[in-house]
Structures are given as C-alpha cells and as structure tokens.
Symmetry: C2
Subunit: 327 residues, 2 copies
C-alpha cells in the first residue's frame, strides 16, 4: 500500500513512517520541517520506499500516483511551539485538514486524522470516554491548538457525511519515546534532558496534575489498525491508562536515569489540565488494541535514546529553536 503522512518527519509521523516501511509499504511524507526534522527519517531513504516532500500542507498539494491511505498528522503539538505559531496552528487544523481531506476524496483513500486529548481540555469527567464533550476555553492561550483540533474533527465528519470520504478520528493522549525534540517544552523531554544533565528537574505547579503516558510503539500499532483495519469514523481514544502525577514522573525519570537531580517547582501554564486519562474501551472493542509496553520500559528506552542519539544530534539552543519557529 501507498500511504501519505502529513507531518511525516515529526515525532509521531516518523515512527509511523518507519513501521509502515518496515512492513513493506510505501510512504510519502509531506512536512514543512518547522517542527519535523530530516534526521528523523534519514534512515528510511535506503529502503527505496520512502519519500519526503518539503511542503506546507496549508497550501494545496497533490501526490502523483495511487494513494491508499492518508495519515493527517501535521501540526505543531507542543504548547511552546503552538503559542509561538498561533495563526499557523489554527490554519493547519482548518486549511491543512481540508487539503488532506480533498486529497483523500480525489484518491478514494481512507484518511485518519490525528486529534488529541486536548479536545477534552481540563476535563470534568474522569477518565474521559469519547462521548465526553470536553471543557475547553476557546479564548484562552491554548485555544489555538484545542479549537483547531475540534474544528478539524467537525470537518472530518462533514467530509464523511457530505462527500463520502472514508475518514476517521483518533484522539491521541500523551505519547513519548525517541525523537521527541529535546527543547520542545513538553514534560518528558524536559525531565529526561534535565535529569541526564544533572540539572534541577522543573515541574510546573505543585506537580500533582496527572497525565497518562503511552509509549510511541503502542500508539503506532493503534493508528495503523485504525487506518488499515476499519472504516470506522471514530473518534477513538488512543493512550495508555497508566496515569501518573508530574511530580512522580519526574522522580521516576531521575531514578531511571541514575541522576542526582533534584526537583524544582515552577509556574504552571494557564488552563493546564489537572487530570487526563483515556477510557480505552472503544479502542479495545474496535481495534482489539491495548498498550503492551510497560511505561517503565518505555521510559528506559527514551532515556537511552536521549543519552546516545540526542546527545550526538545537533542540539538547538532555545534561541535557534525560536529562529526556526519564526522563519
């Protein structure tokens, strides 16, 4: 099969590309490389089944030849990134999603859209089933990401209803693993980088807020099942119900890294969710899927990657990151 992945050089996109190529599929990654990186997919070139097109998906695009499936994963995804790119983040959710859906319509391809647990906002129902409508501040600083994703969900279903496109939605909860950008501002890369450097590990607020964290290999298995094994519209929650407080997670990473770092508590971002845990009943029923990788194993692999690969990769300073984001 031939699969188009928008955001294919990003953290999740590159893992999806890698698995599809390993299974013998062809992948066309479309990425503007604002938060994606060539280094994430360089190893796939040798297969002869991987192509990277540098393109901003908010501009119309086409792909030559047959396309059997589309994974629409392009977006800034970390608050540090999307707060710097508010209009671009909104636009990739609206125009980017529309361009991907138009491609799906032209090619007769199934499309899976990467939505997010952020559509639940700061939830008042716990854990969150797909039927929960969410608690999102449209005019808060995080609104640019959350509302872009909620809009895109509505658009995916509108194309399904009005245009007959075989499209589905996955709502991705916090995911971690190799190739997270060390400076992307999210908790796990921050914690790992700081622990490995022996610096204070910075936890926001009192650290009692929780997330449920899923190792990337498990996520990839679920996404590919949603693409290749069903025509269901979703939305389907994909995540590991293993819920942990940010304070405990920081402590755990310090221990696994064999670090002597201490915790340092910093200001908590506006509208930061207090709790987050997926109800994965639907994923189990629909996709026969449940996470297989213990969180500890995933953390060990991630720490190991940061210790070796990330250290040897050109590490961007925050100033360089900003320059790239602003270009």
């Amino acid at each position: 099969m031939r699969i188009v992945i928008t955001g294919g050089a990003g953290f999740l996109g590159s893992h999806l590309s890698e698995t599809l190529v390993a299974r013998g599929h062809e992948v066309v990654a479309v990425d503007n490389l604002v938060t994606g990186r060539r280094a994430n997919v360089r190893q796939l070139k040798a297969s002869g089944r991987f192509e990277l097109i540098e393109h901003d998906v908010t501009e119309p695009f086409d792909v030559d030849g047959d396309v059997d499936g589309i994974l629409h994963f392009a977006s800034a995804a970390s608050p540090v990134d999307y707060l710097k790119l508010p209009i671009e983040t909104l636009r990739v959710g609206s125009q980017g999603t529309q361009n991907a859906l138009e491609l799906a319509a032209r090619k007769g391809a199934r499309l899976v859209f990467a939505s997010t647990s952020e559509v639940y906002g700061d939830p008042q129902v716990h854990p969150q089933p797909e039927t929960y409508w969410g608690h999102v501040n449209p005019v808060g600083p995080r609104g640019v990401y959350d509302e872009a994703k909620r809009y895109a969900e509505a658009l995916v279903l509108a194309y399904r209803e009005a245009r007959g496109v075989d499209a589905g939605i996955v709502r991705i909860f916090n995911t971690f693993g190799p190739r997270m950008r060390p400076n992307d501002g999210r908790a796990i890369p921050n914690f790992v980088r700081q622990a490995l450097a022996g610096e204070p590990v910075t936890v926001s607020g009192d650290g009692e807020q929780t997330r449920s964290i899923c190792y990337v290999d498990d996520l990839v298995a679920a996404i590919l099942a949603m693409l290749l094994e069903t025509h269901d519209p979703g939305p389907v929650n994909i995540g590991n119900p293993h819920e942990i407080s940010m304070r405990d997670l920081a402590q755990w990473i310090i221990e696994l890294a064999g670090s002597s770092s201490t915790l340092e508590f910093i200001e908590r971002p506006t509208d930061d969710p207090t709790v987050r845990r997926p109800d994965t009943t639907k994923a189990q029923r629909l996709l026969g899927w449940s996470p297989q990788v213990p969180v500890e194993t995933g953390l060990q692999r991630t720490i190991e990657w940061f210790r070796t690969e990330a250290a040897s990769a050109p590490v961007l300073t925050p100033g360089q990151t900003e320059e790239i984001l602003n270009r």
Copy 2:
C-alpha cells in the same frame, strides 16, 4: 465612516447596514446571497451610501478605498441551513474569518466578529457569563456551526495578539425581528408563519427548553457600540436576559397574532440546548448597554412585518429554499 459588513444582506447584516446608513455612514455589504437576500437591502441603494458586492467571503477579497470598521457577520446561522451546508459553514468560520481579519490588517480597521451563544452549547452553567467555557459536542451534527464559531474566536484573538489587529468578539444570543427568513427553520419565524396561517404551531420536544430572545434593534445598538466605541477584545454577550420556554413563546405568539392555531409537539433536534440566558453584566459595564425593547413589543412588530412584508415578498417553498442552498 466607511464600514464593511460581511453577510450584509442577511437578517442581522441588513439591520446593521440600515442603521449605519441612517446615521450617515457608508456601508459596503459583502454577501454571497446564499441565505442573505437582495430585498433586505434594496431600500438602502437610494441613500447613495450603500453598496452590495456579491461575493463569497471564503474566497479572498479586497475593498477599494478606506475602511474604518468591519463587521464579520457572514455565515449560515439556522440549523436548517448549516446542516445542509456543513463544509461551507465550517469554511466561512475559518477561511472567511481569516479573509476578513486580513482585510482588517491591511486597512488598519477595527473588526467585530459575530460569534454566538452556541459556543456555550448545551450549557451546564446558567445564566452564561463570558468566562464559561461551554459544553459543545464537536462531533455532533451541530458541531459544524458551533466549532466554526469557536475556531473563529480563537483566530480573532490570535490575529489580535500576533498581528496587532484591533478585533473584538460579540456572542449573540437568540435575536428576532423583521427580515428573518420565513422558512429558515428557526422557532420564531416558524411560530409566526404558522400562527398567521392558522396552521398548528410546531414546538419541538415538550417545549420546556428555554431561549432568551432579543429584538433586533437592541442587538444593533450593542454591536455598533462594540465597533465604534471601544477597542475591547471581548468576548461580550449580547442578548436579552428575558428567558422563555418554547411552549410559552409559541402560545404568546398565537395570542399576539390573534390566531386560533393549536400547539403540535414534534421531535427535538439532536443536542438541542436545554436552557440559554446571557449574563449581560459585561455588556452593561463595557458598552453601557442593556436591551430597551420589551419582548412583547418586538414580537408585535415582527408579527406585523410577517403579516404585511413577508406575505408580499416572494415566499419560497421548502423545495426552492433547498435548491438555492444546494446551488
């Protein structure tokens, strides 16, 4: 002053145009006439201060000369319309709003965006202050309208923050008055049309769900104050806190119309809000505004208009309406 009104030939847009022209301002209405009507603004031509440009605001547009203010009011607004036009409704919220904001940026004009009480969805806080985050189903049938408006709110604030556009948001609660389309499917035109025809007045569900209804003249005063007298971002609720159940409203309209119609209860639409009432504290404080027209007076004027004008206007059959919407 020279004011651009997207959706300027629609129900609200035509009243805004009329008041601005009457006050000596120039108005450029931009409307694709899908739910707007030339007849709504025909009387303004003679002033020499009104121009109607037939254009779909989801396509880029420019306006020659100076522009001092922009009212972005283009959108299908009735469930009957937006359920038939799901992709178009999403697109006018995203691309249409972006095009209007780009015009505001180019002209250095203040823009007021017509958001809606629908951003509160089926609210769990009553009455609704602007700080309430809402309770909206992104993947329900009404999601195409509600999420388009929530997205547009986030975009307006993103342009304000990132591009320095002087933009503000009003959240418009149910409004009624002359020039509502008799077949637009909303409760008041339905009730009035049925009462005047002596047909059964159809109330959905048990009719216990409430709305707060504002006469259009009051709404116009608030919108123009938001455009001309402040640079506040909002959001600001605009509506009449006069809350009434649909059953009582139907009964009241039957009485005011001197009709012998009876009530008929029909199926309630999916995700139809149970209650709706604006907290208007902010509008009072910021704009010195509160509604002045008693609901009974407004209903009498509306009934009178439907009795005379709507009767003499070419009344579209539901089939014709559908044809126009689908063209």
